[in-house]
Symmetry: C2
Subunit: 433 residues, 2 copies
């Protein structure tokens, strides 16, 4: 015990700087600096990349961004601190005093006392050009640099925020998160465009598979969530899914993210719809309240016109979506009075103009003999015996849905091409980096 | 606008039951029922699976579990409600009055008024047996049923909780979450055990790849996080990674989850170590405070003896780990005074007895000419030109680490075999479901 304490002390010692002579400047993110309440000349340190340079006779203005917010921090320096290396894209560390800005364009600015250049950036060779608004197609050629632009920075921050919001929503609603497998011997959507995998490099014996059976990349976690629905009444997964489709559309990717949920003891589509509605709203609200500037940028520059969700219109817009969904269900209901437990009818999709299928879901077939017969007819009884077993032992009525995460982002942000809402898009003939 | 409101009203209408004669019983999860403060005979409805049955002459006792907690809800019913179908594993819906329990073993119990059997369970054929404690190896044969046991239920709830804790930790610390790609044309760990993929089923033209280049399943998101480190100062990813290793050990899987983080403007390992320490602690604390019974079950039945983290010892245990880590760094430091920017030395691993490498991390090589020379020597200059470019334009010193998520769970829970802390384990010769 004493030994533990001694060691602990030595940790404390070595993790702080040894006997500093001056109080070191507090390191702040640009976001925190911009939001600082105390601007009475506190000494701080900021690190980031130069987004603009303006050299005047006696004063140098810089804007520094570190990805923590869309807005950059204005740096004001004596021109004696100027240098030819202070170019757009270079990385810097700046120490100085955080003060109230005399300009109305920003609340605070940093009066620089010391500017240190960390990494140069040759403006001529750099594919991102100063003060130019590059088309999204142009930026797609540079997956390693496009995150340094305002627009991709905003989209990636929003994606991160939406991801966190989805996790929070399900946790707060009592769902258990399940990591459904990526590699699977199932094919849940039946037939079609699967990626198959095998160890690379080694001498392949065609009859021998690494897993003993042919293995594929998942197209959906549904069947695995159905397994979990026999133990937990609410489960969800949020991960990558795959299609080996030879499609070059602006709505399809070979690798994309799906949010999927499965709920036990469900008898009607209404129960599912309520979760879908709440998920859609909670996520949108969280994004809108935590990244208002980022959302505004997308709406202003990417999707002007009717796709825009302005802050005033957002609730209305979301309600519209849910209503179209409800209407669709009503139509289905009218089409058949006997729709409960008839999976051909008890399924719903939410289609959004310009985006395609955003949600798809339904109640699952739970009649053992019906399933048994269908599997027998397809010669799949042996392979799916485990699925039949779920209906033999403590079966419950259950249903669920999937939401295409990239399409959700396209929908709320008005981004036309799915390749622009994922960090590293994979599609036929392209797997950059 | 009027139209929208009318439609909205119709949604409200159809989502509630039409004119109920009696106030319907509130549906509660077992967890909420167990935690209810109001036990003055409130009418509730509970759904779940029977975990135990005890028929006495005049009274029937059931325990019902719905996966929301380890503890089940005790149901007390008049024996007239008994039925041969009320067996271990069957699913039921029970309505009744929630009352204070006269027994000290539980706070509340449900006085059943109505018991509805939803799905039967043939006890003879069901591989999970009543009152039997099955070895974990036995349960592994039934990936579709093992989640219905106490121990796997607890592990999966803990896994879900730890996942949420990790997301919260990074979000609260200002990190941007990046979905690094699963399919990649890189090989970040250099050579070795990769899974290669191609569309299945179609006539393969050996020279033609779906992506134009050979494509693999990721072994690490590090390089992609390094890309993002040129725009955001703190990024992380948490997703599946893959190894096509022919290893049958209890520490290896072909598909496992990694938490990876990358931090810009980092000059010393201390900065990384601090994040590792905080991540380890914050996650463990969240798990311990939100799932105390589940953790206790693991420690009691899976890992008795020295691996146990009791609630009293937990802080100490965690400190020990961090100290071993620090010691290792100290040894590295002493081994070379000139260790900053020398990647051979500026790298650290946290090894845990019985679990193996839990964390691995380090500072990244940022010297352009050094990297250029190394790549040229390996004939990889063309393929990794993009990586070199990261050092040419606004480069910053950065570093990061990866944590094996399953090994983390093994470590805090004392679970011996990695196959028992992941819902659907994939390893050589096995890809069940």
């Amino acid at each position: 015990m004493l030994e533990v304490r001694c060691l602990l002390r030595s940790v404390r010692f070595c993790s702080s700087a040894p006997f500093p002579r001056h109080k070191p400047s507090a390191k702040l993110s640009v976001r925190d600096a911009l939001g600082a309440q105390n601007t009475s000349g506190e000494r701080i340190k900021v690190q980031g990349w130069i987004r603009s340079v303006r050299s005047q006779k006696e004063v140098l203005f810089l804007h520094v961004n570190d990805g923590s917010s869309l807005e950059s921090l204005q740096i004001v320096a004596d021109s004696s601190l100027d240098s030819r290396e202070l170019t757009f894209g270079s990385s810097v560390e700046i120490q100085g005093q955080l003060v109230k800005s005399p300009s109305k364009r920003q609340n605070v600015e940093l009066k620089a006392e010391k500017i240190k250049i960390i990494g140069n950036c040759d403006a001529k060779a750099f594919p991102i050009k100063y003060k130019e608004r590059h088309p999204l197609e142009y930026l797609r050629q540079y997956p390693h640099f496009r995150c340094r632009t305002n627009v991709l920075g905003s989209i990636l921050r929003i994606r991160s925020e939406a991801t966190a919001a989805i996790h929070s929503f399900f946790k707060d609603s009592g769902f258990v998160h399940i990591h459904t497998p990526i590699i699977t011997s199932n094919d849940s959507e039946g037939a079609g465009e699967l990626f198959q995998l095998e160890p690379s490099g080694k001498l392949k014996v065609p009859e021998e598979n690494f897993f003993n059976v042919p293995a594929f990349l998942t197209v959906s976690g549904q069947l695995h969530l159905e397994v979990m629905s026999g133990a937990f009444t609410q489960v969800f997964t949020f991960g990558p899914t795959f299609r080996a489709e030879n499609s070059q559309s602006r709505r399809h990717l070979a690798e994309f993210y799906m949010v999927e949920a499965e709920i036990s003891f469900v008898n009607s589509l209404q129960d599912l719809m309520q979760v879908i509605e709440e998920l859609f709203k909670a996520t949108a609200m969280m994004v809108l309240s935590n990244c208002p500037e980022d959302v505004e940028l997308c709406h202003k520059f990417i999707a002007p016109g009717q796709k825009v969700i302005s802050f005033v219109d957002k609730a209305q817009y979301i309600c519209c979506l849910i209503i179209s969904y409800t209407e669709a269900v009503e139509i289905l209901k009218q089409a058949s009075q006997n729709f409960t437990f008839t999976p051909e009818v008890a399924a719903v999709d939410l289609l959004v103009p310009g985006v395609g299928e955003l949600f798809g879901g339904g109640l699952r077939e739970e009649r053992y003999h019906f399933l048994e017969e269908r599997l027998a007819r397809s010669g799949l009884t042996e392979v799916y015996q485990w699925y039949l077993d779920l209906r033999r032992f403590g079966s419950v009525p259950h249903g669920g849905f999937g939401m295409g995460f990239e399409r959700y982002l396209q929908c709320i942000l008005g981004v036309d091409n799915i390749k622009d809402v994922i960090p590293f898009p994979r599609f036929p003939h392209s797997c950059l980096l």
